[in-house]
Every structure is written in structure tokens, then in C-alpha cells.
């Protein structure tokens, strides 16, 4: 082959490039390994260890400063396999208070990389989690016998009372998705899962700190890196003061024992939620500590669904409690005035349509109609409103006007309470009925919404908020369960007044009707000797037995509490709703129940409603 000597010279270029690159690498190695001060400092074979310092999570108090949720020390036992010397498994099991076989299996799992992919003989491996201080104290005394084993302090949430689980919520280890959503979280961190623990997570959790440690080739900590100048101290979580009255909450949960339902009480002037009972409930202690997982599983398998917070997630037909909102709307729109009378002959009878009613005088005006909860009166009202073509032009316009009134009272949309999972309920509009009835409908078609039946559904919170709105004579403040966040201002939306579309004067008229109901109408059972209670019963028809409801507030002037009681399949409003409402009002305003009421409370607590075996 002919040799091309010019090209052959290129071997020097190529060789030169290779030599140059290797030279650059060696210079780089020199600068990294010998020149660089940062690495040189650790040249004796050190590694930096970042240890996270967890801040204490904020505490939770009730409105009177009673401690509801706090932190309790718990201990994890970790082991560094490399440092472990020969030990007697039985002795260790005894010291830890666990079964020997269990311990043997734990060690096997730790070493099994399929079960524990991050295993290294060199790092801390968790042997047991969340030991109580007592269990740990025993082990601590014998710790010196077991080199390589360590005790790591953690905290678990503890609860001062056995109630309020739905509001307080709980914390658990972060899920994979939560880690992806927020880089703050690392595997093994805890995060609020339900209740205020979740909605105030960022305030409660505080801010993690970090400590940068030096350790030697044997994994022993040699002290802080750069004397701790790069460390960051953890910032403690903020404490919360709830608006809840924990004793009122406890009474509510007691009264609903064995029944499915809700009680919501609100301080009308501030929108603060005084109690938010959802029954069946569960003991918050179940959700703390090592057994959370299995308990959570058990609760979610329960057919009564105790994990569901019915007070904000249950949507029910409001029944007759809804009539107050109808009276307000009709009065404001001029469909009726306080003098207007409608007949009731055991109900509403018109063009072959019949809506039943119970026996009372006829005809009657709006205040006695509210007092006696006359169905016919409100049916007529809605019929005339939807049919008022001269005023609205079409049924659609009339319907949407009605809808606007309902929305202004806080129905049909979530109110925005500071708890996760609130439902919006249902307020139909014209488009809805156009679709349902293909455009052919009128006031009669939809007449049942006037008495809180049919398509209308509300959450117990919305019913209580209706009570608060009436108590305030025309406005509400978004209900909220947190009264104060330590060192932080409450969100502005929890102090803004939402005025409805109805004037104060009409509210006064409805208040009279509600007062009359307590004095001589359907709510007589709610009468208290020295408190002017206003109320409205509700008996909501549904597939099974009627739901029993009550909505009210007290005292009539300068109201301190507005309340809604809803008991599924409880029958007439007067059976459960009214007495429970009365007891709650008495408890809150007087601080204690009278001996007579105490007896009544015991009696209601013992009553059970048979719900059958059907899934709820």
C-alpha cells in the first residue's frame, strides 16, 4: 500500500489531543484532590451528614384555651448493623418488650434488599417505631448491652379529649404524590391528612431545620461542619386556637350516639363554629401512633362510614327549615306581605296537585304559617312567584331570581369553611329544569322546592348558616373553626360580612314566626324558661323514614348561638331535632344542663335508630 506521509503526520495531532486531554484530567484531579481547600479539609476521609431537625408541631386549643391536641414523645429504635456485636436475641426482645420471633423476622426484613431497598450496614435502619416513653425507658437502661442500637426521639400527636375527631383530623406519613407536589416533604415526614391538621398544615408544621455534621470513616459523628455556621434552626409550628367549645362538642357527640346525623352550632356575630358534630364519629386516639394504619382501614370498612364528616359533606333535603328562606324571598320580592293569607285544606290542592299538610287553622298569614310549618302557604308563595309573568317575564327569569336569593343566603355553593372536603349542596336553576323537563315546566312542576324537598339539598353547615343569617337579620360571616393562628392574622374572608338580598325588616318578620313556633307552634319542645329561643323544625321526606331536623338560634335579641340539628331517619323534627337543639343551646348559653335536661340528655343518648344493614 502506498504510504501517504503527509497524512501519517496526523498521528501526532491525534496523539497530541489524547495527551492533552489526559493532562487536563490530571490537572483537574490535582485541583480537586490537592489544591481545593474544601475537599482537603475532609481529606482525612470525612463525609458530611445532613441531619434534619424536626420542629415541634403546633398545639391546638379550643375557644376557652383547653388543650385539644399536643405532642407526645415517642421513640424509634434504630440499628446500625455494622456496629452490632454479638447479642442474645431473647434478651433484646425482653428489653424491647416484643416477641422474639417478631424480632428475628424484623432483622431478616431489614437485611432483605427486596423489602428494604435502601439497606446498608452502615446507616441507621429502623427496627421498631413509636415506642412509648415507658417501653423505651426499660430499653434505655439496657442500651449499653447492645452496641449499634440507638434510640431516636420523635413525637406523636396526642389528644386531650375523645371527641372532635372530624375537626381536629390527624397526621400520617406523606404519600408519594404529596412528596412530588411539595418539595418540603421527604420520605418519612408527617403531614396533616384530615381536619384542621390538613387545612392548617403549613402553619402547624413549622419549618424544618438542618444540621450538617462531619463523620469519619467509621460513621462516627465528629461534630458540626464549619462549627455549625451553615446549620439552620427549626422553626416551631404555630399553635391554633379553635372556635370550638369542646364540651359542647362532647355533648353533641353524646346526644347523637347510635344515630346518624350532624349538629352544627355557629356564633352568628363572628361566624365561629362552636361545634361540628358528625355521627357516627370515632375516637381521635385511634388515629395516632403505630396503629393508625389498621384503625384507619377498619374505620373505612365500617358501613356507617364514620370517617365521613357529614356536617360538611352530607347533603340533605333541608325540609321545613327551608321555609324561612322562602318567606324571606317572597316578602322581599313583594309576592306576599305580612297580611297576605293563603288557604290550607289539609294541604295544597290545585289543578289536581296535592301537597299534604297537617291540621291547623286556615287561611293563615306568614307568621303563623312559619309557626305551624304550613306546607300549603309556601307552595302558594312559590306558585305565585314563579307564575308572576308580569313581574319577571318568564318562568325562567322568575326561577333564576329565586336562585339568586338562595345563593345569596349561602346555598348551592361551598361556604368556604376551613376544613377539607366541604360539599356544595344543590340549588336548581332554570337551565336545570329546562333540561330536566325539556322546557315545559311551571311553578307547580317544581312546587316541592318551596318546602325544602325535591331537588334542593343543603349541608348541615349551610342550614346552621341559615340560622346564623336570620339571627344576624340579614348577613353571615363565612363559618370557620379556627379562631386564632398564633402570631398570624386570620384570613380576611373569615371576618367579611356577606349580606343577603333580603332587607332586615323582613328578617324581623321571620324571626317573629320562628319565635312563635317555639312558643306555640311545632318547636314547643325547644322552649327554655329564661332564654328566648327561636326555631324552625324540619321533617324531610326521603326514601326511608323522614329525617328529623331543627334550625334555630338564641337568644332572640343579641343572638349568641345559631344551630342546626339533622338526624337521619329520626322522624318528625320534634322527635330528635328540637330536643337536641334545645339541650345544645342550654348547654352553651348556661354552661351546664339543668338536672331535668340532664335526664333528657341521658334518655336521648340511649335512644337508637334502626338503620338496618344497608350501607350508608
Amino acid at each position: 500500500m502506498k504510504r501517504d506521509y503527509k497524512l501519517e503526520k496526523r498521528k501526532y495531532t491525534i496523539g497530541g489531543i489524547v495527551v492533552l486531554i489526559v493532562l487536563v484530567f490530571i490537572i483537574r484531579l490535582f485541583s480537586l484532590q490537592i489544591m481545593s481547600d474544601d475537599y482537603k479539609r475532609n481529606a482525612d476521609s470525612n463525609a458530611l451528614l445532613q441531619r434534619v431537625k424536626y420542629p415541634p408541631r403546633g398545639l391546638i386549643y379550643d375557644r376557652y384555651g383547653r388543650l385539644l391536641v399536643f405532642n407526645q414523645p415517642a421513640y424509634d429504635i434504630t440499628v446500625v448493623m455494622k456496629e452490632v456485636e454479638k447479642f442474645d436475641t431473647l434478651e433484646l426482645a425482653t428489653a424491647l418488650g416484643v416477641n422474639k420471633d417478631f424480632l428475628v423476622k424484623r432483622f431478616k426484613d431489614i437485611r432483605n434488599r427486596n423489602v428494604n431497598p435502601g439497606y446498608s450496614r452502615y446507616t441507621h435502619q429502623v427496627l421498631l417505631t413509636q415506642l412509648s416513653s415507658e417501653d423505651c425507658a426499660v430499653f434505655r437502661e439496657k442500651l449499653f448491652n447492645f452496641p449499634g442500637f440507638y434510640i431516636q426521639a420523635r413525637t406523636v400527636r396526642q389528644y386531650g379529649y375523645d371527641c372532635g375527631a372530624h375537626i381536629l383530623g390527624d397526621i400520617a406519613e406523606v404519600s408519594k404524590n404529596e412528596i412530588e407536589d411539595d418539595p418540603y416533604y421527604k420520605r418519612g415526614d408527617f403531614i396533616g391528612k384530615l381536619g384542621v391538621e390538613r387545612s392548617y398544615e403549613t402553619q402547624l408544621r413549622g419549618d424544618k431545620g438542618v444540621e450538617i455534621l462531619l463523620r469519619d470513616a467509621h460513621g462516627r459523628i465528629q461534630g458540626n461542619y464549619m462549627n455549625g455556621s451553615l446549620d439552620k434552626a427549626p422553626v416551631a409550628g404555630k399553635n391554633l386556637k379553635l372556635s370550638l367549645d369542646i364540651e359542647l362538642q362532647a355533648l353533641g357527640e353524646r346526644l347523637l350516639e347510635g344515630k346518624i346525623g350532624s349538629i352544627v352550632a355557629i356564633e352568628p356575630s363572628t361566624g365561629e363554629v362552636l361545634c361540628l358534630v358528625s355521627s357516627p364519629s370515632y375516637n381521635p386516639h385511634l388515629m395516632a401512633g403505630r396503629h393508625r394504619g389498621e384503625n384507619h382501614l377498619k374505620l373505612s370498612a365500617d358501613p356507617w362510614k364514620p370517617l365521613l364528616n357529614r356536617a360538611i359533606m352530607g347533603t340533605y333535603p333541608p325540609g321545613s327549615t327551608f321555609k324561612t328562606s322562602q318567606a324571606l324571598t317572597f316578602l322581599q320580592e313583594g309576592i306576599i306581605n305580612t297580611e297576605t293569607q293563603y288557604p290550607c285544606s289539609h294541604g295544597f290542592n290545585f289543578r289536581g296537585l296535592h301537597v299534604g299538610c297537617h291540621a291547623h287553622g286556615s287561611p293563615l298569614s306568614v307568621i303563623p304559617a312559619l309557626a305551624t310549618s304550613c306546607n300549603a302557604y309556601f307552595c302558594w308563595g312559590l306558585y305565585y312567584m314563579i307564575g308572576a309573568r308580569s313581574k319577571y317575564g318568564s318562568v325562567q327569569n322568575a326561577m333564576n331570581t329565586w336562585r339568586d336569593y338562595m345563593v345569596s343566603m349561602g346555598f348551592g355553593y361551598t361556604l368556604g369553611i376551613d376544613l377539607p372536603g366541604e360539599k356544595r349542596g344543590m340549588i336548581p336553576n332554570a337551565a336545570f329544569y329546562d333540561k330536566a323537563y325539556r322546557g315545559s315546566w311551571n311553578g307547580l312542576t317544581i312546587i316541592s322546592i318551596s318546602i325544602g324537598q325535591g331537588e334542593v339539598t343543603l349541608t348541615p353547615l349551610q342550614i346552621a348558616n341559615l340560622g346564623a343569617t336570620i339571627a344576624n337579620r340579614g348577613y353571615y360571616i363565612t363559618p370557620h373553626v379556627v379562631k386564632e393562628v398564633e402570631g398570624d392574622e386570620l384570613e380576611k374572608k373569615y371576618s367579611e360580612k356577606h349580606f343577603t338580598k333580603v332587607d332586615r325588616v323582613h328578617y324581623d318578620e321571620v324571626v317573629q314566626g320562628m319565635r312563635a313556633a317555639v312558643l306555640g307552634g311545632t318547636c314547643r319542645g325547644a322552649n327554655l324558661p329564661d332564654i328566648e329561643v327561636c326555631g324552625k323544625t324540619g321533617t324531610a321526606q326521603n326514601k326511608g323514614k323522614d329525617h328529623s331536623a331543627f334550625m334555630g338560634f338564641a337568644p332572640m335579641n343579641n343572638p349568641k348561638i345559631a344551630i342546626a340539628v339533622y338526624v337521619e331517619n329520626g322522624g318528625f323534627g320534634a322527635v330528635y331535632g328540637v330536643p337536641i337543639g334545645k339541650l345544645m343551646i342550654e348547654k352553651y348559653l348556661k354552661g351546664e344542663l339543668s338536672p331535668q335536661s340532664q335526664l333528657q340528655a341521658d334518655e336521648i343518648q340511649k335512644r337508637r335508630i334502626n338503620y338496618g344493614l344497608q350501607e350508608r
Binding site: M1, D4, L7, E8, R10, K11, T13, I14, G15, I17, V18, V19, I21, V22, V24, F25, I26, R28, L29, F30, L32, Q33, I34, S36, D38, Y39, K40, N42, A43, D44, S45, N46, A47, L48, M81, K82, G118, S120, R121, Y122, T123, R215, D216, A217, G219
Partner: protein, 488 residues
């Protein structure tokens, strides 16, 4: 038979075999160090990586002796057949349903899984050698050149389809061999410039200088163009060395003055200043071309314009044309963004690990950074960390010098080949080793982008070890027959 064995034993290059064995042994110890877990490890345990690697090494030695005992004409004769089979394998791998770490490049055969891409390099080198070894072949023949490019680009494309961009980039190393075979140096120069402009321009275009207006990337590239231009004049227009010096002096002075002015007096965007300077340079070159009628000036003026246009078009393409996910991939490749698997993290940790090694290292099995799993991929792509940490500056320099010796030895062996077939193959082998060394060690040292390709003979894995062994020993076999070849 007896004669043949004797000749192999005599003629094979024992220096290379010695370097090979040294590298493999050092590699095995590094894998022991990287996968070693205090206390409970037995290096001979075939369940552990060190044990498995021992099996791969034994297989490689077997493979090497098989190759050495084959007839030397075997590779010449079956070059295209081997290439074809490997292309088919690569093609089949694209439709491979098994994914390992998001890559489809593995074919699973019972207990072992192999990566055809590791062997395809061998096939391509052989096919190139065969094709370019033809007597009538000429690189300056356009048809031949295009066919050569096709032999390189087809397997590259197939590997890109397997989402193994790193392995595909290795094929660029063949251009070094092409350069030796007569490809104009300007092409290599252009290619290197393009890559450098791209990396520097994109990587640092978001980093402002101290005046907070001028972006580092454009500043660096535009300055580089002026300096390179003066270098080009120096090389190609030897009569104008004075002009080159003037350009260099004026350019550097302007840049320094500009920097001082912008930093300390009034901050302004120096990119405009540099653009004007490049414009002046371009016009100067054109004037010289018109006056002296020397085409080198024209080409140099093209270089100036082309460089500037290339810089701004990559910026434009990067910002406007690329899809977001493509952008992210490039950003990750250049270390501008931490990817989910944490390329930036890896490099940082690997620098700490190497830096902590010091002059003599922490000693075999005493590395902490790698032991504590700070460095992911520590026994595959980041294996050099373990060397740096445990053997220190001395050990890692020694390893680098071993590679340097091997590569220089390969250049020497290639040059002594009597046939172009053998020389092309030898340079291909050398180029591949060099590219792997350059990218892998550069990545571990934080000098080159993070591209996941193994370090020859060091990284854990049967496929890569076998691939490199075949590559090397086929060349040794051909080399051992060089006298026979010269006759035939």
C-alpha cells in the same frame, strides 16, 4: 496448526495485553470497592457484583483466547456479515418490550441480559475497515464518503431509537479515525467548534456576567471566534502572521477595555460590541481576499459569519423551535437542570467523593462517600469516583496514564499496519476508547456533560466488558498477522 499457534504467541502485542490485564484487574478492585458493604461481603460471592464481574472477566479471557485462535482472515471476510447481524439485533431491540431503567437497549436471554449496542461498535468498526480497506476507496470520492457516513449513522440512529443517546454519541468518535484517513482537518475543526459553541452558548447564555447585562455564553463564544480566527490565519495564511497577531492583540485589548468599562463605568451589553468586532473582522477578511486573491481569506470570512450565525441560530432553535421536553433533555445533558434521576446531584457528589480522596486516597475499601451510596451508579458510569476516593491522586493519575499508554500504543500499532483495513480498524478502536475515556472521566470530574457511557474495563457489566474485549482482541489478532497480510 502448530506453526500458527506459535506465530500468534510470538507476534501478538504483549504490551497491549499487559495493559489490558492491568486495567481489568484495577477495574475489578474498583468494583469491589464500590459495591463493598462493610462486613458481610465476600468478593467471591457470585450473588454480589464483584463476584459477577469476576465471571464476566473469566468469560472475557476465554473470549480473547478464542479470538486469538481464529484465522485472521475471518474478520476481513465476514466483516459485512457481522455488521449486518448486529444491525438486525439493534433493530430488533427497538421493539424490545423489556425496559430496564427506561431504556430498551437490553435483550434478555434467560439469566443474562446483553446490550447489543455495546457490540455494535465492534461491528461498525469492522465494516468501516472493510469498506475503507477496498483498494479503490477514496475519502475524497463523494459517493464513498456518503457511504462511509451511512455506515456510521445507521447504527447511531438505531441506538437513538432505543433512547440510548449516550451510546449513540460514541459513534462520533469515528470522525477521529476519518481525520487520520484524510478527512480535511477543517471538518473536524468545524465539528469541534460547533459542539463547543453549542455547549458554551446554551449552557451559559442564562448566566449574566458581573455587569448583569452581558450573558456569559454569547460573550465567551464571540470572543472565542476572534481568537480562533487569528489562529486560522496563522495556520492557513502563513504570509499573514503579522495580521493574525494584530487581530489577536486588537481583539483582546478591545475585549478587556470593554469588560472594564462595562463593569466599572457604565454597564452595557458587550454582545453588541463583540458583534461589531466580528463584523469588522469579516470585512477585513473580505478585503484581504479581494486584494490578495487568496481563497483562504474567503474561507476564514465564512468561518466568522458561520460561527456567529450558528451561535444565534442555536439560541433561537433552543428557545423557540424545540419542544419543552427536548429542551429539558438538553438542559439536563448540559447540567443546567437537575433531572429526576439527578444528574447534577451525581456530578456534585462525585466531585466531593474524588476531592475527599486527597493525595494517596483513603485506601482500598475505605471510601465513605461511595460506600454510603452518596454517588449513584457508583459501580457503572461513576466508577472512577471510587478510584479517586480510595486511591487518591496517585491512583487515579496512574489509571489515567494506563489509558493514555493503551491509546498511544494503539496509535503506534495502527500505524505499523501494512493494510488500510487493519489501520482503519485500529484507529477506530483507539478512537472509541478515547471517546469513552474523555466523556466518562470528564463527566465524573465535572468537565463534560453527563452522558451515561461506561469506562472501558472499569464499569460493572458483562456486555460492556465483552464489547471492549472483542474490539481490542480482534485488533490484536489482525495485528499479529501483519506480516502475512503484507504478503496477501
Amino acid at each position: 496448526m502448530a506453526y500458527k499457534k506459535d506465530s500468534i504467541f510470538k507476534n501478538v502485542d504483549w504490551w497491549t495485553i499487559m495493559l489490558y490485564i492491568l486495567l481489568v484487574v484495577c477495574g475489578w478492585f474498583s468494583i469491589c470497592g464500590a459495591s463493598y458493604d462493610y462486613g458481610d461481603s465476600n468478593f467471591w460471592d457470585f450473588g454480589l457484583r464483584s463476584g459477577k464481574q469476576l465471571v464476566w472477566i473469566a468469560c472475557s479471557l476465554g473470549l480473547a483466547s478464542v479470538i486469538l485462535s481464529l484465522d485472521h482472515r475471518f474478520f476481513d471476510t465476514y466483516a459485512f456479515l457481522i455488521f449486518g447481524i448486529l444491525l438486525l439485533l439493534l433493530f430488533a431491540t427497538i421493539f424490545n418490550p423489556h425496559e430496564i431503567k427506561g431504556s430498551k437497549s437490553w435483550i434478555v436471554l434467560g439469566p443474562i441480559s446483553i446490550q447489543p449496542a455495546e457490540f455494535a461498535k465492534f461491528g461498525t468498526a469492522l465494516a468501516l475497515a472493510k469498506f475503507m480497506g477496498e483498494y479503490t476507496y477514496s475519502l475524497s470520492n463523494r459517493k464513498h464518503f456518503v457511504a462511509t457516513l451511512a455506515i456510521i449513522l445507521v447504527p447511531m440512529f438505531l441506538i437513538i431509537m432505543q433512547k440510548e443517546t449516550g451510546s449513540a454519541l460514541v459513534y462520533l468518535s469515528f470522525f477521529l479515525m476519518l481525520y487520520r484517513e484524510g478527512m480535511p482537518g477543517a471538518i473536524l475543526f468545524t465539528g469541534v467548534c460547533a459542539v463547543a459553541y453549542f455547549i458554551v452558548g446554551i449552557r451559559f447564555s442564562v448566566v449574566p456576567m458581573a455587569d448583569e447585562i452581558t450573558p456569559w455564553g454569547e460573550f465567551a463564544v464571540l470572543s472565542l471566534i476572534i481568537i480562533l480566527t487569528s489562529g486560522l490565519i496563522c495556520v492557513y495564511c502563513k504570509q499573514a502572521r503579522k495580521l493574525a497577531m494584530i487581530i489577536l492583540m486588537v481583539g483582546v485589548t478591545c475585549i478587556i477595555l470593554g469588560v472594564l468599562f462595562s463593569f466599572f463605568v457604565i454597564p452595557f451589553n458587550m454582545v453588541y460590541m463583540l458583534l461589531v468586532m466580528n463584523g469588522v473582522l469579516f470585512i477585513t477578511m473580505i478585503i484581504y481576499f479581494l486584494r490578495e486573491r487568496i481563497y483562504s481569506y474567503l474561507f476564514i470570512s465564512f468561518f466568522v459569519v458561520g460561527s456567529v450565525v450558528f451561535l444565534f441560530s442555536t439560541d433561537y432553535v433552543f428557545a423557540k423551535v424545540l419542544e419543552p421536553h427536548q429542551k429539558v433533555r438538553i438542559e439536563v445533558l448540559l447540567g443546567m437542570k437537575d433531572d429526576p434521576s439527578g444528574a447534577g446531584y451525581n456530578v456534585n457528589q462525585s466531585k466531593i467523593a474524588i476531592g475527599s480522596g486527597g493525595f494517596v486516597g483513603k485506601g482500598f475499601l475505605n471510601g465513605t462517600q461511595t460506600k454510603l451510596k452518596y454517588v449513584p451508579e457508583q459501580d457503572t458510569d461513576f466508577i472512577f469516583c471510587t478510584v479517586g476516593e480510595e486511591q487518591g491522586f496517585l491512583g487515579s493519575s496512574f489509571v489515567l496514564l494506563l489509558y493514555l499508554s493503551l491509546i498511544l500504543r494503539l496509535i503506534f500499532l495502527s500505524e505499523r499496519q501494512p493494510t488500510r483495513f487493519a489501520r482503519v480498524y485500529g484507529y477506530s478502536v483507539m478512537s472509541i476508547f478515547f471517546f469513552h475515556l474523555f466523556i466518562n472521566v470528564g463527566m465524573v470530574l465535572g468537565l463534560t456533560p453527563v452522558i451515561g457511557i461506561p469506562l472501558p474495563f472499569f464499569s460493572y457489566g458483562g456486555s460492556s466488558l465483552w464489547g471492549f474485549t472483542i474490539l481490542l482482541f480482534v485488533f490484536l489478532r489482525i495485528d499479529a498477522a501483519r506480516y502475512g497480510n503484507a504478503n496477501g
